[in-house]
């Protein structure tokens, strides 16, 4: 990570420079150990290495340049915020920092201690002045996907310009109406923020841009059905993570180029691990950068991860927005329908997720599932029990892990994951 080239910009963003330098140093070391040490990596991953090395540097510079040219920056924490609308308003849509144990002591002054690490992290990043994305935002969009986030946003609103979208808890006609009104409200918020009107033409183009990004990621996921696995789960997770930070058009082109390389590799029956290596599906809570702890443990235990059933994974990419719509109203309906297909554990009942996990196990030829819940994430901890039951009907073994961003349980996790891999071998 570059720690000096962007100093002036970081000072301007009022980051805590010594603490931020410290964070980048730790991240750089962590990245080196977990990513750069892998053998047989694809050439196309160099792009991802570069993007990540400049995630607080050049990408932030791009955001500042966009702001200077009059564009607005919208920060989000959830796949429920329709990126298509953000882009159609000519604003920049970015995911905000929430994957590291940063500023927890400060965060615990605003949220209870038994709050999940993801929430503590986004509040901590803000309070400790460590996230240049948050500091660049003209508007942050929260959402009501769990009680923790809902209440945390009340406190967060005192620190950033924030609007909260209400995500329903069920998928009935009444819920759809509510969600549609929220999508329309988001459209209006964007138009007020940017001064740009969202037209049918602009929205159609934005739908195509975001669909193209999702298609590239779908293509990546489909290529991972091959045995031997052509790409490590760590690298695939990184790609899904970078999807939230990078310019969508540039990102899509890079991932398609990478998929071409993966396709060649699959054709030659080459992979990152020998054919027959135990294949695992990761399922559960999102893993934001740099939350690579569990994937690293899994892939150091003789298994390879072949899919991520999570918001930073298939939940973000599985469904496309219909491109059939001609009028603005029809496009809004298409957006509403697409976003309501998201099988987040915040919904009740949520049978779709059970079916989707099952389908992924089959498509990806997974030998087992590692279910990952963030500690104190009730919706996913509850669903872990349901998913295990569902999978047991198919004879698919599952290991349930509940952990956070700290490193104190790494040895215990290693033992459990290794034992699980021994069990399914």
């Amino acid at each position: 990570m570059t720690t000096n080239a962007h100093q002036a910009m970081w000072e301007q963003l009022n980051l805590d420079i010594p603490a931020h330098d410290g964070l980048l140093a730790v991240l750089g070391k962590f990245y080196g150990d977990i990513y750069l040490s892998q053998s047989g990596r694809l050439k196309g991953m160099e792009y991802l290495d570069f993007v990540l090395s400049e995630v607080h540097g050049l990408r932030i510079k791009e955001l500042q340049d966009a702001k200077a040219s009059g564009r607005k920056i919208v920060g989000t924490f959830c796949v429920f915020v329709p990126e298509e609308l953000t882009l159609a308003a000519d604003a920049v849509h970015v995911g905000l920092c929430s994957g590291a144990e940063a500023g927890f002591a400060e965060a615990e002054q605003l949220v209870p201690r038994n709050t999940c690490a993801l929430i503590k992290s986004f509040i901590g990043f803000k309070l400790a002045r460590l996230c240049p994305f948050t500091e660049s935002c003209d508007l942050v969009i929260g959402e009501t996907t769990c009680d923790g986030k809902k209440k945390a946003y009340e406190a967060f609103a005192e620190h950033v310009p924030l609007e909260v979208l209400e995500v329903p808890q069920r998928k009935t006609a009444a819920d759809r109406l509510l969600w549609k009104s929220e999508v329309l409200r988001y459209k209006q918020l964007l138009e007020e923020l940017t001064g740009n009107q969202i037209t049918a033409e602009k929205l159609q183009a934005a739908i195509q841009t975001v669909n193209a990004k999702r298609r590239a990621l779908q293509r990546l996921n489909a290529l991972r059905q091959a045995d031997p696995a052509p790409i490590s789960g760590r690298d695939a997770l990184l790609i899904n993570q970078v999807a939230f930070y990078d310019d969508p058009i540039r990102f899509t082109a890079s991932i398609n180029a990478l998929c071409d390389q993966i396709g060649e590799r699959v054709g030659k029956k080459e992979g990152v691990a020998p054919a027959g290596t135990p294949r695992l599906l990761l399922s559960g809570c999102p893993m934001a950068v740099p939350n690579w702890k569990l994937p690293y443990i899994v892939e150091s235990s003789g298994a390879v991860i072949v899919g991520e059933e999570s918001c930073i994974g298939s939940r973000n990419t599985r469904d496309l927005v219909s491109e059939e719509a001609a009028t603005l109203d029809e496009m809004i309906d298409a957006l509403v329908d697409r976003y309501l297909k998201i099988d987040c554990a915040c919904f009740t009942p949520n049978q779709e997720r059970q079916d989707n996990v099952r389908a992924m196990v089959k498509d990806l030829q997974a030998d087992g599932v590692i279910h990952y819940s963030l500690l104190f994430c009730q919706p996913y901890e509850y669903e872990a029990i349901k998913i295990e039951k569902t999978l047991s009907q198919d004879g698919t073994p599952m290991l349930s892990i509940a952990t956070d961003y700290s490193m104190e349980d790494v040895e215990q996790l290693k033992t459990r994951v290794e034992a699980f891999v021994e069990m399914i071998k």
Binding site: P397, A402, Q412, T415, R416, A419, E422
Partner: protein, 254 residues
């Protein structure tokens, strides 16, 4: 005949089982201390091994220490499964309560693991819990179980946390309750925790009880009563992991 060593490097003790493919030829045990590698070397002094299989918390440490030309590691889950199958082939559930962790394992015939549960980061309800509380009672650990069995009334200790459980025990003492009854309550709290874990893996009979805590007569009696099924307890329950590691080494060949 080749000689295979199974070495279980646990948090409190290290066990070694020497196996020649037909039978166990020797078993040894020592404390882990803060220098487990030195302890492991001392345990292996004078033994010419053809193959060493390490398991337990310190297995990674042993892996590259040059203790033997052929070293392999397996997790303690697998080791306990294999050890249990060798010592009590009919066992379908294994409970191991060791120095700092507890595991419950559902077994198929032949020692294949079907499902397992382990305590996570906290050592509540493990051997460490008993060790600490025995110190509070100023009773040698080996006598703590017999001491608790003298209790007439099983007092309720709610906390699973070692520190909070001590606080509860101390406040019961301050109220003048019989220390034997308090000790009995502390043992019962371990049993409550482990039965819940056993239930999560299905609790098929018979149950093999392994690990150092299986030497405690009070835990054994309370557990058997709680489960309503007799327990299979090997002669040296703390050796099950090392035994399983040795069995694995014999199977995979030299």
């Amino acid at each position: 005949m080749p000689l295979v060593g199974g070495l279980d490097v646990g948090s409190r003790s290290i066990e070694l089982v020497l196996h020649d493919g037909d039978r166990v030829v020797d078993q040894r045990k020592t404390a882990t201390t803060f220098d487990p590698l030195r302890q492991a070397r001392a345990l292996l002094a004078g033994v010419r091994l053809d193959r060493l299989v390490a398991t337990g918390y310190g297995r990674g440490l042993v892996e590259n220490a040059g203790l033997c030309a052929a070293v392999e590691t397996i997790t303690e889950i697998k080791a306990y499964g294999l050890g249990a199958a060798a010592l009590c082939p009919e066992a379908r559930t294994v409970l191991d309560v060791g120095g700092q962790d507890t595991k419950a394992i559902a077994l198929a015939a032949g020692g294949k693991i079907l499902k397992f549960e382990m305590n996570d980061r906290c050592a509540a309800g493990t051997g460490k819990f008993l060790e600490h509380l025995a110190t509070v009672f100023q009773i040698p650990l080996a006598e703590f179980g017999a001491y608790a069995l003298e209790g007439k009334e099983q007092l309720t200790i709610n906390s699973m946390c070692t520190v909070f459980a001590e606080t509860e025990a101390v406040s019961l003492m301050a109220r003048g309750r019989d220390p034997h009854d308090i000790a009995l309550g502390l043992h019962a709290s371990i049993v409550k925790r482990t039965t819940a874990m056993l239930a999560r893996v299905g609790l098929a009979s018979p149950v093999l009880f392994a690990g150092g805590v299986a030497n405690n007569p009070c835990v054994v009696r309370l557990l058997a009563a709680a489960l309503g099924t007799p327990l299979c307890i090997p002669e040296q329950p703390e050796m099950v992991g090392a035994h399983g590691a040795a069995v694995h080494g014999c199977r995979t060949g030299v």
